[in-house]
């Protein structure tokens, strides 16, 4: 079973690596959207620092969501998805490898670049590490929860909008606590509790999410 998991992870990483546009696009979107705020709002440092946590988090959330639409599409179109579903392993094995690969090459880069964007948005330097940790804890949840929507809409021609409708309400807790942590840190208050809540949401998503994704794929294949 673990051999299949490693083979799957290797395949998924290779697939993303060979089509780097899928990897660069969310990162590019994240950087561009955040850079538009000073232009559209006002370059005043106090104002930017006020909206920075929300702006960075909303941009990260949308970047992850946009990257998920195609998560299973090409596997479905090529027939590779049917192979996964008829394989003698539980579908969670290839699915979890896919989710990890996707997060490593999209969510993780977002977390790594977030402090830079926070600095650009005039966040105090002392808060930047909290911003990075919050995005680091939040993006895997966004990936897993979004993948449930992607699995359910994979058979539909224009699933993008439906995906957003399904997934965005579930993203709200992550957004509230993610941006909340950064704001709390800005106010100089302890952030451990809020980070723990983000961690708890992540634990819940990681334990139940892959199973839900596998079931969603099975439902999509069956009609």
């Amino acid at each position: 079973m673990s051999a299949i998991w490693w083979a799957s992870l290797r395949r998924e990483l290779t697939l993303i690596w060979r089509a780097p546009a899928d990897m660069v696009q969310p990162l590019f979107f994240f950087v561009v959207v955040v850079s538009l705020f000073p232009l559209g709002l006002s370059p005043k440092p106090e104002l930017l620092a006020l909206v920075a946590p929300g702006a960075v988090w909303v941009a990260a959330l949308l970047a992850v969501m946009l990257s998920l639409d195609g998560l299973f599409r090409r596997d479905q179109e090529s027939g590779a998805l049917d192979q996964m579903l008829t394989a003698p392993v539980v579908t969670v094995v290839p699915v979890s490898a896919k989710l990890l690969a996707h997060w490593l090459l999209t969510g993780l880069p977002l977390a790594l670049i977030a402090p830079l964007l926070g600095y650009m948005m005039q966040l105090p330097v002392a808060v930047l590490d909290t911003l990075m940790v919050s995005v680091l804890l939040g993006t895997p949840t966004l990936t897993v929860v979004g993948a449930i929507g992607a699995a359910l809409t994979v058979g539909l021609n224009r699933g993008g909008i439906l995906l957003a409708v399904l997934v965005l309400p579930l993203y709200i807790p992550v957004l509230v606590f993610g941006a909340g942590v950064v704001r709390t840190a800005q106010d100089g208050l302890p952030t451990d509790g809020l980070l723990a809540v983000l961690g708890a949401i992540l634990a819940l998503a990681l334990s139940l999410g892959p199973v839900a994704v596998a079931l969603g794929l099975r439902i999509s294949a069956g009609d």
Partner: protein
């Protein structure tokens, strides 16, 4: 409704050809048999768990264009738990020299051959093949035909949809709107 009154039992070492007009439900029947399609009335019973012995080749070959022929087959092999030699299997289908070429640069027939190479990896006793003969040339048809007969002789159950008939003693199942009939 696609078909009704369908009743047949298939055994080790048999080859079943499923025929029918376009849209008669051949692909749907195969998807029901392998458990991918859940909306039907009736019963499908296998002797023991199907997954470990199943080799299912869908309408789409399941080959990703970004990966090379060898990478595609290695992954299929790992996923299905087959043990054979990947390079020998590709060689058996005339893909020698194309192992490291991304599948996107190969022709439709060659992509189908990558998928078909799984039949040369062994370890599976139930083959469910959806249109395995499409897109491949005469030489490929001959190799596949021989391979199906060889496998059936060794005790494999082969179910496939196609208008190509493998040998004379093939069992045939014809699907039509009126009902399904088993022709000897």
């Amino acid at each position: 409704m696609l078909f009704r009154d369908l009743d047949f039992s298939a055994h080790d070492g048999q080859i079943w050809q499923i025929t029918g007009a376009n849209g008669a439900g051949k692909t749907t029947l195969l998807r029901i048999l392998v458990g991918l399609h859940g909306f039907y009335e009736g019963e499908v019973r296998w002797d023991g768990p199907l997954a470990p012995s199943l080799l299912y080749l869908g309408h789409q070959p399941g080959v990703r264009e970004e990966l090379t022929a060898r990478e595609n087959l290695r992954y299929s092999q790992a996923l299905a738990g087959q043990s054979g030699d990947v390079d020998a299997a590709l060689d058996a289908l005339g893909l020698y020299g194309f192992e490291d070429v991304p599948a996107g640069r190969l022709s439709a027939g060659q992509k189908r051959r990558i998928a078909l190479a799984r039949l040369w990896l062994g370890d599976k006793r139930v083959w469910v093949l959806d249109e395995p003969f499409t897109a491949i040339d005469q030489d490929g048809v001959a190799r596949l035909d021989a391979r199906l007969r060889e496998a059936a002789a060794a005790g494999t159950l082969v179910l496939y949809t196609s208008h190509h008939r493998v040998g004379e003693d093939v069992h045939r199942l014809h699907l039509s709107g009126a009902g399904a009939e088993v022709l000897a």
